[in-house]
Symmetry: C2
Subunit: 336 residues, 2 copies
């Protein structure tokens, strides 16, 4: 079944049929209806390939993610998919899970000539990669990461971190540890979350104990290990600030396994508001994940329509206080 068939069956010419199917102007309502009816009746859909070849757009957008099994990315992609689907855009999924995949992706540009736009989810793009991307000649939007050069939607990591650390400080904690996540050559580095820590501590005139800052790669197990180190000190921190909820989950497990209680002995705060956070009563800073995905997808849709959307959208974050944080019991500052 081709356009020609539909045109014949509807008793119109090729051009008219094409226009009718494409919502293009210049077709009477009656004619359009008839064409659409025939098409629907035969489950006909325009061949995107031929359409594209003849000068149209691909009606496809590439979504590039470092992970999919992590909640953040899955939720992001899920929300984008919805917007794209409504707009009649297909999504071509690409995963760049590690440095090698990343290299391959930018070297070979598998999405070349296959899409009208590309959205990078939680990915830092360096100058070299940007250069490569340019030869694709398509719109690029970043979601969950900031890029001076590309339109993007993200949260303010500085603000998110501030909310978390200020909360701890307000509760009276002074011996606060930070578990930084720093995925080498991978996803976006939320440096802001680290900066926020130092800034907040400084603002409250609390000195940062360098032993209390542990850098690790992302993951619950990593969080567990890191807090193991923290608990090993003769004077462990009274609170832990983790860059992400998953890391915080790991920290909580370690604390509990050590026979200590959260928050009585140690408070823990994360960032994200992962669905499991409410289940383990984790205090955290919520970021609107679906919201970011939708906003990014809308940006793409607008761009494709020729409108020009805001170049940057920053979504708000909120402190969600649950039961993993409380006033410190052992006021460490009293013993000084």
């Amino acid at each position: 079944m081709t356009l020609a068939d539909v045109a014949r069956l509807a008793g119109v010419g090729l051009g008219t049929a094409s226009r009718a199917l494409n919502d293009a102007p210049g077709v009477s309502d009656a004619t359009r209806r008839r064409v659409l009816e025939v098409a629907a009746h035969h489950s006909y859909v325009v061949s995107p390939d031929a359409s594209r070849l003849a000068g149209g757009a691909t009606r496809r957008v590439a979504v590039v993610v470092p992970h999919l099994s992590r909640w953040f990315f899955g939720a992001m992609v899920e929300s984008m998919q919805g917007v794209f689907f409504e707009a009649g855009l297909d999504v071509l999924l690409y995963q760049v899970k590690d440095g090698e995949a990343r290299h391959t992706f930018f070297a070979e540009l598998p999405a070349l000539r296959k899409v009208d736009a590309l959205v990078a989810v939680g990915l830092d793009i360096d100058d070299l990669e940007r250069k490569r991307l340019e030869i694709m000649g398509v719109h690029v939007v970043s979601a969950g990461g900031q890029h001076a050069v590309y339109p993007h939607v993200c949260i303010d990591d500085l603000e998110a971190g501030r909310l978390a650390v200020d909360h701890l400080l307000a509760l009276g904690h002074r011996a606060i540890a930070m578990i930084e996540t720093d995925d080498p050559d991978q996803a976006v580095h939320p440096h802001g979350r680290s900066k926020a820590f130092y800034a907040a501590m400084t603002r409250h005139r609390v000195e940062v104990d360098p032993r209390f800052v542990i850098k690790t790669s992302w993951g619950a197990e990593q969080g567990a290990d890191a807090s193991g180190t923290l608990l090993g000190y003769t004077d462990p921190p009274t609170a832990i600030y983790a860059h992400s909820d998953e890391v915080a989950f790991g920290a909580i497990r370690t604390i509990r396994r050590a026979g200590l209680r959260v928050p009585e002995d140690i408070s823990v705060v994360g960032i994200d508001d992962h669905p499991v956070a409410s289940l383990v009563d984790l205090t955290t800073v919520r970021q609107p994940v679906a919201g970011q995905g939708e906003a990014a997808a809308r940006m793409v849709v607008d761009l494709l329509r020729g409108e020009d959307p805001p170049r940057a959208v920053t979504m708000p974050t909120t402190l969600i206080v649950r039961r993993s944080t409380a006033r410190p019991r052992r006021r460490r500052d009293l013993s000084r």
Copy 2:
């Protein structure tokens, strides 16, 4: 940059260039090398659209999922993506999150003419939908669900359930509750996990208390609510068998909030081995998620190559004993 350009630059004809790029026979090694070199040098890739139009395959496969923000589905898609990418196949992602989306999908078949194959992840496909799918005329494979008509890869739910319930029974539990998940009109219904419960109980000659079987939709909150009901009884169960880890997480929270302990007061077992399971020390039945995804993707690749892969693959499940299960303290059977 088109094939013609590459051909010219390489000093060969169109046909030769095409054959060289497609690994087709009938080109001398030297010539092929030269063409490939020129192509690489100019970041040229064959236009899939034109290629397809000229009679080739789309080199695209549709992946249809009900969710992406749930770990199971994200992990599944992630693993499939890897296999497809290696095989040079692009993934077109479709989400059918609810009944309406599902209806739309099968009514409009947005993937029509866009892919060479379709893999349904965790989706039941009824006869009507199958009929619709037929008009796509492509290979269909099911992952994480059983389908008499389609090649599929899945686990044995009966076995998984048996492992979980037998574990509880072996520990001495008799007052065992089951939280069934039954997502209406949505993903695959793991009826086997329910059947396994009744079968195991019967095998051990334990009568099932109908109040102890609660049907709910999937989700941690639902699991929390369900166990709330369970705890409300004057004689609550000593163990809970949940159809999935997320549900079990909810159950654990409710139990803890009620001031009871896991496993001392109530044991909890789930199914899946969600990454968080190890963090909350949940005993569960592990299913190889990535393994299923890879197997399903390989099936598709084989099918596309004209080989015919096994029509059904069942992956093994394993009981992972952690600290959410223990012998019952209050031996309820003693009080009888």
